[in-house]
Amino acid sequence: MYCPYLLLLLSLGVSAVEVQRPRGVPLSKRQFYEEGKPFTCLDGSRTIPFDRVNDDYCDCQDGSDEPGTAACPNGSFHCTNAGFRPAFIPSSRINDGICDCCDTTDEYNSGAACQNTCRELGRKERESLQKMAEIAKEGFMLKQQLIQEAKRGLEEKKGKLAEVQTSKKDLEDKVEALRSVKEAAEQPEKEAKERHLKAWEAVIRKEKDMAKMAAVFLELDADADGSVSVAELLLHSELDQDSDGTFTETEAQGLLGGVDKVDTVAFEAVWSNIKDKYISEETRESVSDTDSEQYPEDDIPEDEEEEDEDDEDEDPDDGEYKVTSLSFSIRLVLDGPGSPPTTRTQEKKDDEDEGTMPPYDQETQNLIDRMTTFFCFLFVHRNIEKEISFDFGPSAEFGYLYNQCYELTTSEYIYRLCPFSRVSQKPKYGGSETSLGTWGKWAGPDDNVYSVMKYEHGTGCWQGPNRSTTVKLTCGKETVVTSTSEPSRCEYLMEFTTPAVCQEPPSLDSMHPDHEEL
C-alpha cells in the first residue's frame, strides 16, 4: 500500500529523505510549505507569514499551519517511521510524554525517553504479514477444495432428491398394488384380514408415534451426543409440568425419570410424558420451508401441529406425516456407525416381547418394510431439502460446517458452536447447558456479509434480553473457535477461523518490496 510512496522516494533518490520540510509534514504535502514564502492554510482560509508555521500558535482553522506542534486542536502530525509504516497522529499527541511514533519524532520536546522501534516493528509486521499471507494462501486452497466438495455434495443431494421422488412414486404404486393383492387374497379370510388390518393400523400408529419420538429425540438432542440432557429439555419451556411459568431443572429432571440425561432407549419412557405438550422447534420458530410447495408432503410446520391434535383419527395410510417420522432409522442410514445404537427394529422387538403387538403375516410385514423404506427416502429428502435451503456462501464454501460442532474451553465454560444450528455454553465443572442462540443470519457488513454470523433467541436473561451470539469469521487453515467473550450482558462474541473466508492473497512479491534499504 505504500508502494507509490516508495517509488516516489526512490525516484527522488536517496537524498530525498534529507529534503527539508517543516516538522510533521508528509512528503506529499511538502510543496505547500515553501520556506520563506507566505503560507496559505490548506483550506485556503488565510495566508500567513512562513514564520508562523510551526510557531506553536494555531492560525489556520484547519490546523495546517501547525503540523509539528500541538497548538491546533484538529491538527495532525506525520511520522515518517522509516523501516515501518508512516502514520498520522492527532497533533494533541505531540510532546505529551507518550511515545506514539515508532521513530520517536512526536516526542521532541517532552523529555520522554522513546526508543526507535520502527525496524523491529517493520520486521514483526513483515513476519506476520508473511504468516498471514501463507495462511491465506493455504486457506484459499482449502477453500477451493471446499467449494469443489460442496459442488459435488450438492449434486449428490440433488440426485438423491430426484431418486427419492422416483422411488416415492414407485413405492406408492407398489404399496397400492400390494394392498390390492393382499385384499384380494385375503377376501375369504375377512375376519382374519380385519384383524390383521387392525393390527397393521396399530403398527402403523405405533410406528408413527415411535417415529415422531425419534424425530423429537433428534431435535432435543441439540448437541448430537446421542442423549437428551436436562439442559436440552429445558429449552422447551412448554414442557413445564406445573405450568407455573417456569420450567425448572428439577421439573426437567423429573421428566427424564430423575436422571441427568437419557439415551434413545430410555427416552421412550420419557416420550410418553412429553408428547402431548411438546412443540417442535420448527413449529415454534415458524420456519417455513421454501420448497414446501414443491413437495407438499413436506410441509411440516402446519401439518405437524394438526398432527398433534388429530393423531387418533389419522388415516394410517396417510404418508404425509411419517416423512419426518422415521428419523431413527434414517439417521442410521445417513450417519452410519457412531449414531445412537438403538434401531427401530430393536424397539419393535421389545414391543413384541411384551406381547402388546399382534403378530401379522408376511405380506403385511413386507408392506411395513416397504413403507419403512419409503419413509426413509422421504426423510432423506426432507433433510436434504433443509440443508439445501441454507445460504452456505456464494460458492457453498461454508457447507462443510453444516452438522458440525466446534468447542472452546475457557477457565469457566465450554462453548460450543454448531454452525447454522446453535451456540451454547456449559459450565466446565457441571451444571446445565445454556443456549446462546440459534442460527439467525449472516450479518457482516454489506461488502462482506459472510464475515459475521448471528445466532439469536437463546435462553432469556433474567429481566434482560434473550442471549445472542455474534460469530466473527477470520481466515485460517483450521476450522476452530479461537475466543469467546461477553462484551455486554447476554450478548456474546465468538471468533472463529475457517478457510472458507480466506481470500485469494495478492502475490507475495507485490506485497513485499525490499525494505532493507530504508
Binding site: 510557531d55 497548538a71 494533541s92 505529551d96 436473561c461 433474567w462 429481566q463 455486554s488 450482558r489 447476554c490
Partner: protein, 951 residues
C-alpha cells in the same frame, strides 16, 4: 453499582415481589413510612402548643464559654440539661441532654473537625420569665423564656429563629423496662437504694432534691402516667419480618424551629427532590437514614444513600442554617404559613398589607442520641458556608485528574476488555483519565483481591494504563465475605473487628459475596487496620495509579430491615441505631487514610462513596447512587448535586447515562453534555445493559460526546481553581443561582440551571426533543456571554436559547476572567505543561477579574506553599496578573498562548510588559461583529507578573 439487584434477587425472599411488580420503581413497601417507624409516629403525634418543658432559671450557670440551665418536663419531672454556646463566626450551639441519663446517650464524634472555639456570652437582663443574653456585636440576642421553655434568637427587633416556639421539644428519657422481672427487682432494689443514697447523698443538688421530695403527689402521678404511656414500638418494633429488640427502650428526641420571614429552605440531602424543600404537611417528613434504595423514585422525601442533617433557610435579607448533629434515623417536617397560598392570595396580602409574615416551621425528630444543634446565623450564604466549614471542614482538594472524565461500567470484564476500551478512547480521540472496575474484578467478591482468570496480572494492566498517563479505580466495599480462606476476613474476625449482633456474635448479613461480616468502622483501631490494607505490599496487584470506590456502605444488607443493618446490632457500647448514618463516612475516611498512608503522606487520595454524612466532604467524592436512564433522572441530578453542595459536599455527580436501563442515544448525549458541567463526571452502566462506550452510537453522536468531554477538559483549570476555593472556604463549586444573587427572588427556586463558581452559568438541555431552553440570566446590571458564540446578553432576563443536539447553553459572567487549556489531550496529565487561553469577559464598567491556580496536581505539597495563585485583573484597558500569595513558590512551564477579550473595542496597539521589565508588542485580531479581541501568543509565563496594555 447495583443495590439489591436482579442477580442477587433470586436468593432473596422477596424477589418475587420485584418480579411480579415488573415496574421500574422502588418497592416502597420495603421502606418505612413515618407511621411505620414507631418513634416518628409517637413524636409526630405530639400537638403543638402543649410544651411540658419549663426552664429552671435558678439553675442557670454562666461561664466564660457557656450557659447551662436545667429544663424540667412538668409531666414526668425528668430534668434535662441545656447548654448554650456562642461559637466563633456567628454560630450558636444548643445542646440538650438528660441531666442524669440512666446510661450515657450517644454524642456524635469525629464529625466536628475540632471542639468549636467559643466566644463569651454576656447576660443582658434577667427576670422570672426569662433571660436575655448578648450574642456579641451585631445587636444579636438570645432570649430564654422559662414557661414554657423557648429560645428566640433576635437581631435588633427581628426574630431570626425560635426554638420550641411550637412546643414540640420532646426528649424520651432512658428508663427501665417495667413489664419484665428485672425491672421489678430493680425498681424494688432501687427504691431501697434511693433511700440509702438519700441518707448519704451529697448536697450536690439540694434544690432539686427538695423539689422532688416536696412534691410526692406529682411523683406518684408521674409513675402512673408513664405506665399509661407505654406504647407499641417502645420496647420492641417489627417491620416486615424483621424485629428490632430495642433493649434500651424509647430514646427519641425532637425539637421545632420557627423561621419568621422565610419561605425558602434547602439542604438535608440526600433526597431525589427539588432544590427548594417542600412542605411535608400532607405526607411523610423528609427522612434521613442511609439506605440502599433499589430503583429510587423521584420527587419524594424518602431516604436515600446518604444523610447530611443541615438545612439552609433563605430570604432576600438573610441566610441562616441549622445543623442537627445526630447520626440516628432522623425525620424532618417542614410547614409554612404561605405554602397553601396562591399567587393571588399573596398579592392580596401585599395589597392589603396583610398581618401575617411568611414563616417556615421546621421540626427535627431523631431516634436516639442528644439534641446538639448549631445555628448558623449567616447573614450571607457565603457566611453560612464558612460557618458550616468551620465546624465540619471543607471539601478535600482532589487530584486534578479526578476532575476529568471517568469511564465506568459494571463491569469491564477482563484485562483485555480494559485494554480495548482504553484503546477505543484513543482511536476515537476522546480523552479520559480514569477507568473503573466494579465488583466482578474481585476473586468472588473478596475485596482487595483480583479474579485470577480475568485479572490475572493487574500490575501489567495498571502499567498499561499508566503508560497513557491514566488511572484506575477498583471497588472496595465494606461487607467482607465470611470465608476462612480469605485473609481479610480472618484478620477482622481474629481481631474482633466485626460489628456484633444483639446476642454478641459477629453480625452477618447477605450482600454480594453471600454471607458477609461488617467491620466496625466506628473503631479507630479498626480504621487504622483497614487503612493499612491499602499499602502496596498488602493490597496485592495495586499500584500508585489505583484508587478506590466505596459502595454499599449505608451499609447495605440484602436481608436486613430496609436492606440495611439491624438497629440492635452493636458497636461496642453503642447500638447501630445510634451510629447508623455515620457508618459510610467512616468507611470513606479509613479508605482515604489508607491511600494517603500508602504514599507516605505525599499523594492526595481519591475515594468515591455512596453513603455519606456531615463531614464526608473531607474524604472525597460522592455520587447519587443507582439512578436510571430516564430524562427525569437527568433533570434531578441538578437539584441533587446542588443540595449536596449547599451542605459542603461539592464533589458530586450522577451516573452519566443512567445506571439502570438503557438510555436512548439522545438521552446519552444530553447526559454527557450535562455531566461535563457537573463536578464529578463519570459514566456508569448496569451489568445487564448493552455496552455504551461513547463511540457505539455512530460517528455523529461520537462527535457530540467527544465535544462535550473536550469542553470539560478545556475547563479543567477553572474546575481545579474552584475546588481549591472550595477546599479553602467551604463554598460550593456547583451553586444554585440564589447563592450569588441572594436578593433576587427569581433565583430562589431555580434548579434546572446552576453556576460553577460564580462565573459560569449552565443551563443544560434536559428535555427530550428540545428545540430550545429558557435560561434565567441573573443580575440587573450584569451581562453574560455565550461561551460558544460570544454573544452578549443582559442580566435579569429570561432568555430563550434555540438549541440543536450540539448545544450546551453555557454563559460566562461579564466581569470575569476564566483560564482554559484548549489543547485537549488524551488525559489531563498529558496537558500539565500546556499553555493557557484567558477568556476575559468585560462587564458594562469594562472591568473583569479572575484567578489562576497551578500546582503539581496530585500531591499535598500545596500545603507547603508549593503552588501558584494569582489574581488576574482587567481595568482601564490593562490586563494584569498579580501574586495572591507571595509566600507560595512553584514554577510552571505553562504560558499564556492567547487572551480572548469579550465585549472589547478595537485597540490600536497592544503591548506586553513582563516581570523582567521587557516590553513587546502583541499581535491581535479583532472581530467587530462580536466585539471580540484576540491577543495572539503573548507568551508570558503563567506563574509570573505581567501586564498587557491596550492602547
Amino acid at each position: 453499582m447495583a443495590t439489591f439487584t436482579e442477580r442477587m434477587a433470586p436468593v432473596l425472599a422477596f424477589w418475587l415481589v420485584l418480579c411480579l411488580s415488573g415496574t421500574w420503581a422502588v418497592d416502597r413497601g420495603n421502606f418505612k413510612t413515618c407511621d411505620q417507624s414507631a418513634f416518628c409516629k409517637r413524636q409526630r403525634a405530639l400537638k403543638p402548643g402543649e410544651s411540658p418543658y419549663r426552664a429552671l432559671l435558678e439553675t442557670m450557670e454562666l461561664t466564660n464559654t457557656r450557659l447551662t440551665l436545667q429544663l424540667i418536663n412538668d409531666n414526668n419531672k425528668v430534668r434535662l440539661l441545656l447548654e448554650l454556646y456562642r461559637l466563633q463566626g456567628n454560630i450558636t450551639r444548643v445542646k440538650i441532654n438528660e441531666l442524669k441519663p440512666l446510661k450515657p446517650r450517644y454524642e456524635v464524634p469525629d464529625v466536628l473537625i475540632r471542639e468549636p472555639p467559643t466566644e463569651p456570652l454576656s447576660l443582658l437582663s434577667q427576670d422570672d420569665n426569662g433571660v436575655v443574653l448578648s450574642l456579641g456585636a451585631e445587636s444579636q440576642r438570645v432570649i430564654v423564656s422559662a414557661r414554657p421553655f423557648r429560645l428566640d434568637i433576635m437581631e435588633g427587633r427581628d426574630v431570626l429563629m425560635s426554638l420550641n416556639s411550637r412546643g414540640l421539644l420532646a426528649f424520651e428519657h432512658l428508663r427501665m423496662r417495667k413489664d419484665t422481672f428485672s425491672y421489678k427487682v430493680t425498681s424494688t432494689v432501687a427504691s431501697v437504694w434511693d433511700n440509702i443514697k438519700r441518707v448519704f447523698s451529697s448536697q450536690a443538688d439540694p434544690e432539686a432534691e427538695k423539689k422532688e421530695e416536696g412534691d410526692p403527689e406529682n411523683q406518684a402521678e408521674t409513675g402512673k402516667e408513664e405506665e399509661e404511656k407505654v406504647e407499641d414500638g417502645m420496647w420492641e418494633e417489627t417491620f416486615k419480618s424483621h424485629s428490632d429488640s430495642k433493649p434500651h427502650g424509647p430514646s427519641a428526641i425532637s425539637l421545632d424551629f420557627s423561621l419568621p420571614g422565610v419561605e425558602h429552605v434547602y439542604g438535608i440531602p440526600e433526597h431525589a427532590d427539588t432544590l427548594r424543600l417542600k412542605t411535608t404537611d400532607n405526607g411523610d417528613p423528609y427522612r434521613l437514614y442511609n439506605l440502599d434504595v433499589f430503583q429510587y423514585e423521584l420527587y419524594n422525601p424518602m431516604a436515600l444513600y446518604g444523610a447530611v442533617p443541615v438545612m439552609l433557610a433563605h430570604n432576600a435579607k438573610r441566610t441562616t442554617g441549622i445543623f442537627w448533629l445526630n447520626a440516628a434515623e432522623t425525620w424532618v417536617d417542614i410547614s409554612s404559613n404561605t405554602a397553601g397560598k396562591t399567587v393571588f392570595g399573596k398579592m392580596l396580602d401585599y395589597v392589603q398589607g396583610s398581618s401575617e409574615t411568611p414563616q417556615t416551621d421546621v421540626r427535627w425528630i431523631s431516634e436516639s442520641g442528644i439534641i446538639d444543634v448549631f445555628i448558623m446565623l449567616g447573614p450571607t450564604p457565603k457566611d453560612v458556608f464558612s460557618q458550616y466549614a468551620s465546624l465540619t471542614g471543607t471539601q478535600a482538594f482532589p487530584p486534578l485528574a479526578a476532575l476529568a472524565y471517568h469511564q465506568c461500567r459494571w463491569n469491564y470484564n477482563d484485562q483485555e476488555d480494559v485494554q480495548s476500551v482504553d484503546a477505543g478512547f484513543d482511536e476515537h480521540d476522546i480523552p479520559y483519565d480514569f477507568i473503573w472496575l466494579d465488583i466482578e474484578h474481585t476473586d468472588g467478591k473478596r475485596y482487595f483481591t483480583w479474579d485470577p482468570h480475568k485479572f490475572a496480572t493487574p500490575k501489567e494492566m495498571l502499567q498499561g494504563i499508566m503508560d497513557k498517563k491514566r488511572k484506575m479505580v477498583a471497588i472496595v466495599d465494606p461487607h467482607i465475605k465470611v470465608d476462612s480462606n480469605y485473609k481479610i476476613h480472618n484478620e477482622i474476625r481474629s481481631r474482633g473487628f466485626y460489628i456484633k449482633n444483639k446476642d454478641g456474635g459477629d453480625y452477618e448479613g447477605w450482600c454480594w459475596p453471600g454471607s458477609a461480616g461488617y467491620p466496625d468502622f466506628t473503631r479507630p483501631d479498626m480504621r487504622a487496620w483497614w487503612a493499612s490494607m491499602f499499602a502496596y505490599d498488602q493490597y496485592e496487584g495495586s499500584m500508585e495509579n489505583l484508587y478506590t470506590w466505596n459502595d454499599m456502605n449505608e451499609p447495605s444488607v440484602f436481608n436486613g430491615p430496609e436492606v440495611t443493618m439491624h438497629k440492635d446490632a452493636t458497636h461496642g457500647a453503642w447500638e447501630h441505631r445510634d451510629v447508623h448514618n455515620l457508618y459510610g463516612l467512616y468507611v470513606q475516611m479509613a479508605t482515604a487514610d489508607g491511600q494517603i498512608q500508602r504514599s507516605g503522606g505525599v499523594e492526595r487520595p481519591f475515594v468515591l462513596t455512596r453513603a455519606f454524612f456531615a463531614g464526608s466532604q473531607r474524604y472525597g467524592a460522592v455520587w447519587t447512587g443507582d439512578n436510571a436512564a430516564e430524562w427525569d433522572h437527568l433533570k434531578i441530578s441538578i437539584p441533587m448535586c446542588l443540595s449536596l453542595g449547599l451542605v459542603g459536599i461539592s464533589f458530586c455527580g450522577a451516573d452519566v447515562g443512567g445506571f439502570f436501563k438503557s438510555p436512548s442515544t439522545e438521552l446519552l448525549v444530553r447526559w454527557y453534555q450535562t455531566g461535563a458541567y457537573q463536578p464529578f463526571f463519570r459514566a456508569h452502566a448496569h451489568l445487564d445493559t448493552p455496552r455504551r462506550e461513547p463511540w457505539l452510537f455512530g460517528p455523529e453522536n461520537t462527535a457530540l460526546i467527544r465535544d462535550a468531554v473536550r469542553q470539560r477538559y478545556t475547563l479543567l483549570p477553572y474546575w481545579y481553581q474552584q475546588f481549591y476555593l472550595a477546599y479553602h472556604t467551604g463554598q460550593p463549586v456547583m451553586r444554585p443561582l440564589w447563592v450569588e444573587y441572594p436578593q433576587d427572588p427569581a433565583t430562589f427556586a431555580l434548579d434546572d440551571e446552576f453556576l460553577i463558581g460564580r462565573d459560569l452559568l449552565v443551563h443544560p438541555v434536559t428535555e427530550e426533543g428540545a428545540r430550545g431552553v429558557t435560561a434565567y440570566l441573573p443580575g440587573k446590571d450584569e451581562v453574560w456571554f455565550d461561551v460558544n458564540t460570544f454573544q452578549k446578553h443582559n442580566g435579569a432576563q429570561n432568555l430563550y436559547i434555540p438549541v440543536t443536539m450540539s448545544s450546551i447553553p453555557v454563559f460566562q459572567r461579564g466581569g470575569s476572567i476564566i483560564p482554559r487549556k484548549l489543547r485537549v489531550r488524551r488525559s489531563s496529565s498529558c496537558m500539565e505543561h500546556d499553555p493557557y487561553t484567558l477568556y476575559v469577559a468585560l462587564n458594562p464598567q469594562r472591568t473583569a477579574e479572575g484567578e489562576i491556580y497551578i500546582d503539581d496536581g496530585h500531591t499535598f505539597n500545596y500545603e507547603k506553599q508549593e503552588f501558584i495563585h494569582r489574581r488576574l485583573m482587567f481595568a482601564n484597558n490593562v490586563l494584569s496578573s498579580v501574586n495572591l500569595n507571595p509566600e507560595a513558590r512553584f514554577t510552571t512551564r505553562s504560558w499564556i498562548e492567547r487572551v480572548v477579550i469579550l465585549g472589547a473595542s478595537k485597540p490600536s496597539k497592544v503591548t506586553l510588559k513582563t516581570a523582567d521589565g521587557q516590553e513587546s508588542t502583541v499581535d491581535f485580531d479583532f472581530d467587530a461583529s462580536m466585539s471580540v479581541l484576540t491577543l495572539r501568543k503573548p507568551g508570558m509565563n503563567a506563574g509570573e507578573d505581567w501586564t498587557v496594555k491596550l492602547q
